[in-house]
Every structure is written in structure tokens, then in C-alpha cells.
């Protein structure tokens, strides 16, 4: 009999809870930005609902997985799902990298009169096209949004904290791979040690990143520092957010390893998170080269 059985789950409440959560979160955020008093509280409520939903939904999936309800086909579906989710994240970062390249190569040089933009210097009198320190010769220029520009007094120091962070994150990729090998060899204590090392490196990265933000901010590099400040904070900010998510996911995996959820040949949860961690690693390399270094 070649009869193949499929896994089809029952109805679920989690998605509608998630939709309500993100809607309250976003509506709260928009109101908060417009100075509405209940905006922030709505954000907190929406965020709490989303966290509740994630715990409930993913907890249910973990339970089903542990109880052996999934077959290899479900495992493959999860793999396809996770890989293409990561690809969509890559494209999200690509939008911001695209903005960085465009500003660096096209809009800033053009504003200073390069190319065939004959009239630009007259329109943008006194524009100083120094990458990282975009400014006008007249101080106190305000952006179109009415915010005064903050001009950095110093360039970012590539070979200080950013280089150290690169080393930390690359190393965390290595320790995570060791953990994976140990998992395949069913050596749980080693898996736990390497996972802990990975999480520690990730958290250290985040700590140094916060310190680096402190330096940059004190030196005047802010969101309002023109296009370099915009791309700097949006790229590193979204990356730091993803590292935070990744570290939380790794902690969950650590907990699940301790519970003995994974076996040598069935541990998609671990692998999915590992892919995600390597993805934030690769994004950081792009950041280090294009935001901090070149």
C-alpha cells in the first residue's frame, strides 16, 4: 500500500489573536507618533498580545512536534517556509542597502554638482558632500521635516568596536556550528555549552553595539544627520533588532535542548534558528564593509 497520510491541523485561534495584536500595536504606534495620549499604552497592549500569540502558537507547534505528530513531509514544509522567510528578510535589508548605495554613489555626488546636473550647486548652495558628514556651509540647516540637522564631529571608527563586533559575530557562527555537530552526535552537554557560548557572544555583540551607539550619538551622528545617519541607524538598528530576535530564539532552542526535544536526525527547530543566526551574521558583514568601513 502506497497510501500516504498527510498532516492537516485543526482550526486555530492563534492567527486572529495575532491579527488583533499587530493591529492594536500599529494603531497605537501611529497614535503615539501623533501625540495621542493612549498611543503608548495601546502599543504595549498590542505587543503583549503578539507575544502571547507567539508563545501559544509556537508552543502548540513544539508540543505537536514532541508528540510525534509531524512526519518528514511537515518537516520539509517547515524548511521551505523558513528558507523563503529568510530570503524575504534579505530583500528587506536589500532595500536599505540599496538606499545606502544610491545615496553614496548617486544622490550625494549629484547634489554637489557631479554628472550632468548643471544647476544643482546653485540650488544647493554651500552643500558639502562629505560622506558621513553631510552639511551645508551655513550651520543650523533644517530638514524638510522641520528637524535641525545634527552634524557628526567625528567619523565612525571602523577598527574599534565594529571590528571587534565582527569578530564576535563570526565566532558565534562557528560556535553554533559546533553545537550543531554535537547535536548530530547526540552529545547534549556539548550542545548546551556551545549554544551558551553562541548566546553569550550574541549578547556581547548587542552590548558593544549599544556602547557604539552611545559613542556615535555623542559625536553627533544621529538619525537627523542626513542620509548617512539615516542609513547607519536604520541598517544597524534593524540588524540589532534581528540579532535580539535571534538571541531569543537561540535561548528557546537552548531550553528545548535541555528538555531533550531534539534527536540526531530530527531537529528542524534548531536548524531553522541556526539558519536565521547565520543570516544576521552575513547581513552584519555587509554592514561592516559598506556602513563602517568603505
Amino acid at each position: 500500500m502506497s497510501e500516504q497520510k498527510y498532516y492537516v491541523p485543526d482550526g486555530t485561534y492563534w492567527p486572529i489573536i495575532g491579527s488583533i495584536g499587530v493591529t492594536i500595536l500599529f494603531v497605537g504606534f501611529a497614535n503615539q507618533m501623533h501625540g495621542v495620549s493612549w498611543g503608548a499604552s495601546a502599543m504595549v497592549l498590542g505587543f503583549a498580545i503578539v507575544i502571547f500569540m507567539l508563545f501559544g502558537w509556537l508552543g502548540q507547534v513544539v508540543n505537536e512536534s514532541v508528540n510525534g505528530i509531524y512526519n518528514s513531509q511537515v518537516d520539509r514544509s517547515f524548511r521551505w517556509g523558513m528558507s523563503w522567510f529568510i530570503f524575504s528578510e534579505v530583500m528587506f535589508f536589500a532595500a536599505f542597502f540599496g538606499a545606502l548605495f544610491y545615496a553614496r554613489q548617486i544622490s550625494v555626488p549629484w547634489l554637489s554638482g557631479e554628472g550632468n546636473n548643471l544647476y544643482t550647486p546653485e540650488l544647493w548652495d554651500g552643500f558639502k558632500a562629505t560622506w558621513q558628514q553631510i552639511a551645508f556651509s551655513t550651520p543650523g540647516t533644517t530638514l524638510k521635516s522641520g528637524v535641525e540637522m545634527s552634524i557628526p564631529t567625528q567619523l565612525v571608527d571602523t577598527w574599534g568596536l565594529p571590528a571587534l563586533n565582527t569578530a564576535l559575530l563570526l565566532l558565534s557562527g562557528v560556535t553554533l556550528t559546533f553545537a550543531h555537530h554535537a547535536l548530530r552526535a547526540e552529545r547534549r552537554n556539548q550542545v548546551i555549552s556551545w549554544l551558551v557560548a553562541t548566546i553569550v557572544l550574541g549578547v556581547a555583540f548587542l552590548g558593544f553595539q549599544v556602547a557604539e551607539y552611545g559613542h556615535a550619538y555623542a559625536d553627533g551622528l544621529q538619525l537627523t544627520s542626513g542620509i548617512y545617519g539615516s542609513t547607519f541607524y536604520m541598517l544597524t538598528g534593524f540588524h540589532g533588532f534581528h540579532v535580539t530576535i535571534g538571541a531569543i530564539m537561540l535561548s528557546v532552542i537552548l531550553y528545548r535542548v535541555q528538555k531533550g526535544h531534539f534527536s540526531a536526525d530530527s531537529h528542524f527547530g534548531f536548524e531553522g534558528v541556526a539558519w536565521y543566526w547565520h543570516f544576521v551574521d552575513v547581513v552584519w558583514l555587509g554592514l561592516f564593509v559598506f556602513v563602517y568601513w568603505l
Partner: protein, 538 residues
Amino acid sequence: MTTATATIPHGVHHHGPEKGLMRWIKTTNHKDIGSLYMWFAFAMLLIGGALAMGIRAELLQPGMQLMEPQFFNQLTTMHGLIMVFGAIMPAFVGLGNWLIPMMIGAPDMALPRMNNWSFWILPFAGGILLSTFFMEGGAPAFGWTFYAPLSTTFAPDSTDFFIFAVHLLGFSSIMGAINIIATVLNMRAPEMKLMDMPLFVWTWLITSFLLIGAMPVLAGVVTMMLTDRNFGTAFFDATGGGDPVMFQHIFWFFGHPEVYIMILPAFGITSHIIPTFARKPLFGYSSMVYATASIAFLSYIVWAHHMFLTGMPVAGGLYFMYATMLIAVPTGVKVFNWVATMWRGSMTFEAPMLWTLSFVFLFTIGGFSGLMLGIAPADIQYHDTYFVVAHFHYVLVTGALWAIIAATLYWLPKWTGKMYNESLAKIHFWWAVISVNILFFPQHFLGLAGMPRRIPDYSLQFADFNLISSIGGFAFGASFFLLTYIVVDCIRNGKPVSARPWKGAKGLEWTLDAKAPYHSFNTPPSRALIEAESQHSA
């Protein structure tokens, strides 16, 4: 060895879906979710259509009659956004949900819970979007393309709600696309090779890659808008070294794949309906697959043909012009194949076929006007005129929407087990196809004569064609009442049909019961069945 096969919990075969509202909120079933998508899309189509009626009413005569210019711009903006993100895209996802598992011999989608979420985000996103009409300063009024700085420096507060609505719509699309990829690649009957897949499945698979590549970029660009508006960044502000034109580059990097997201599944539908009613296998199956893939690839590298007037370097203009022209080649392959499929076929002209034939003809008109717009020097004349409006309504209304209506009528018997009223459907078709041409064809002339788009008033020489266009618009709008009646009448009073109501139809979905069972295939179909039902078997 898959020991852990125990599944289909709680005897889905025995008691089927839950009762009442909870069935629809909790559902993980591809057919339920497909229906939800289709009804949501239809509701949004009617809302978007009502806004269009407002636009055409104001444009009936020169001069300002009914509304403030600002409100007119809100109508055009929201009409575009609702139709693109609320009607056309969800309708195709709904069709994909309904049809893909049946066509590939699967019981359901690969990730059914996520499938539920990708639908149930939509009503919330749509609600946020529509609520902007009632906010201070009104709804967004900067056009559906929301160019900076109109959407950053000069936009109302409601723009931030619009931004979050777009984020939610993006989540929904990305999850839907991931689900379709996982379903097609992993839930396909083991005996079905990729090149056995029906073309609707192929086109949706390729569309999914477009969605996953493009929607995150849209999320990125609206995020930049958000921070430019609220947090002092300077992405689109030249004072800080940014550039409003950069907005257009990033937007159209999303926007051009987006137009193929809205048409590739329509190509798939057409490639099913024409062989059925010509009673011949599809001509050039594999070339159809390769042409679809080529169009998808090209769609990523032609985006700046929307921006010829932004002052790009001549080399850039030439590149984007020639790359755009290239798309005509695979599209031409498709049109040729459809015509060749009909060549010496035993053709009959039931309503789905009528819609499809007019799709081929009218979409080709839209394609040709697209080619005209793609010629950089000519575009200087056409840019932002009604010629552009005519062009994209020919590809989106008589293209995408036509295929959706054709697909609805074609597969309605399989969804309901009943047949719609053929004579009413024919009356509806002729009503719609005549009125839509009265509506949109004169807009070509208006555009060539220089009437700009997104303008509530116009000079006197445009009056006659606008009057004709508006009359066509009201007639076309009214035709949707008849469509609603036809569909509801089919569901309620339709005559029961056999499992294969169209004699020439091929495809695994027609091997299921007349009204497709709640879970499509619980055991995968055999190789013999797949071969007998494939699009290349005679």
C-alpha cells in the same frame, strides 16, 4: 520510514468543518480560506469600484461639480490602493488557495495555520486603510504610488496609518507566497514532476518568488517614509543628501514585479480555459513555463521605465527602454501559444471562454500601449497622461480582473457542484466587455491629446471623450450587480453538475467529486491519472 504518519486529527472525513462564524475564523482549510479571500476581494472590488464611480462622476463634465480637488485625489489614491492590494492580489491568492492543492493532488496547503493568518490579516489592514477616510486631513491623496515628498513632507497624518496598512498587507502577501512555494514544492503528488504541473500552478509558483522578492522592498520603502516623516531621517530629503527620486527607484523595484504579480496567474488561468474550450492540448506547454520565468526575471530589471522623466542619464534611459522591450518577447510567445492552441480547435463559446478570448485581445491592447510607453522618447509625451491610465486599466481590468472573472465562472461548478446561469453570464459578459471599452478606450485619445491624470477638472477640448468614458464607467460599474446575482444564484439555485462539467477540461481537479470534497486528495493520485490529466496529453 515515516513512522510518524498519524494525522488528519479528529476525523476530518467524518464531521467536516465546524459550524457558524467560528468555522471561518479558525479555519485551516484551503477551500474555506480560498472562499474568504475571494469574498474579501469581491467586497474590496465593490468599494474600490464605488470610489471609481465618484471619480467618473466628477469627470463627467469639465469644471468642479461634486467635490473638492483634495477629496478627488483621495478617491484616485484609495481607488488604486484598494484595487491593487485589496481586490486583485487577494483574488488571485484566493484562486491559488482553492485550486493549487486540487491541481497538484494534495489534501491541503503545506502550512495551513499560516494560511489562515495570511488571510485574517487582510480585513484588519483593509480596515485601517479605509479608516483613513474618516481622519483629520482625510485619506492619503498622493496617488497609489505615494511618491515622496508628497507622501512625506506634504501628506496628512493618516499617511502613517496607510504605512502600517501596507506593512500588514505585505506580511499577508509574503506568508501567502511562502505557503504556495512550500505547497507546490512539497505537497505535490509524488508522481507529479515539475513539468507535469498545470500552468496555473507554474505561474503561481513563479508569482510567489516575485512576491517574496518585491514585497519586503515595499516594506522597506514605507519604513523609510515612516522615519522620514516622524524621526528626522533624510532618505527622500535632498537637504540631508537623500533624494526623492530614490523613493521612485525603490518603489518601482517593488512596483514593477508587482504588475507581473497581478498578471502571471491570469496567464495561468488563460492557459487552462483556452485548451478546454478549443478541445486541444495547450500549444507549447514548456515554452509557456519558460516564458513565464523569463517575464518574472525581466520584471526585476526594468523598473526605471516608470521614471524616464526624472532626469536619469541617457544611458540609463536607453538600458531601461531596451530591457522593457525584451518583455514583449516572452509575452508574445504566450499570446502566440494561446492563438495556436485555438487553431483548428473545436471551439465553443461558453462564458468563461468569452471572458478569456476577450482577455487575450484586450490584454494585448494593454500590452501594446505598454510598449509605446516603454519607448523613452515617446514617454516624454505620454507620461502622467490619461494614456497611462488607459494602459494600466487595459492590463489590470481587462487583463487581471477579466481572468479572475473567467476563472470564477470556469471553476464555480467545481467549488459549488452547481452550474451558473449561462444565458445571464453571456448577457453579463457582453454588457461588461462593451461598457469597459467605452470606459477606457477614449482615455487613450485623451492622453494622447495631453489630458493629465489625477486631475479633477480639465479644459473644454477633453469634454466629449470624458463624457463617453464616464457613461461607459457607470454602465460597467452597474454590470457588477449582475455578476453578484449570477454567482449568488449559482450557489443557491444552480443545477447540479457532473464531476467534469466542461467536456474538454483536463486537470486533477476535475477527477474529484462534482462539489470538491473538503480535503481534496487524501491519497495522492497515480502516475497514470496525472499523465491522463496533464496539459500536454492529447
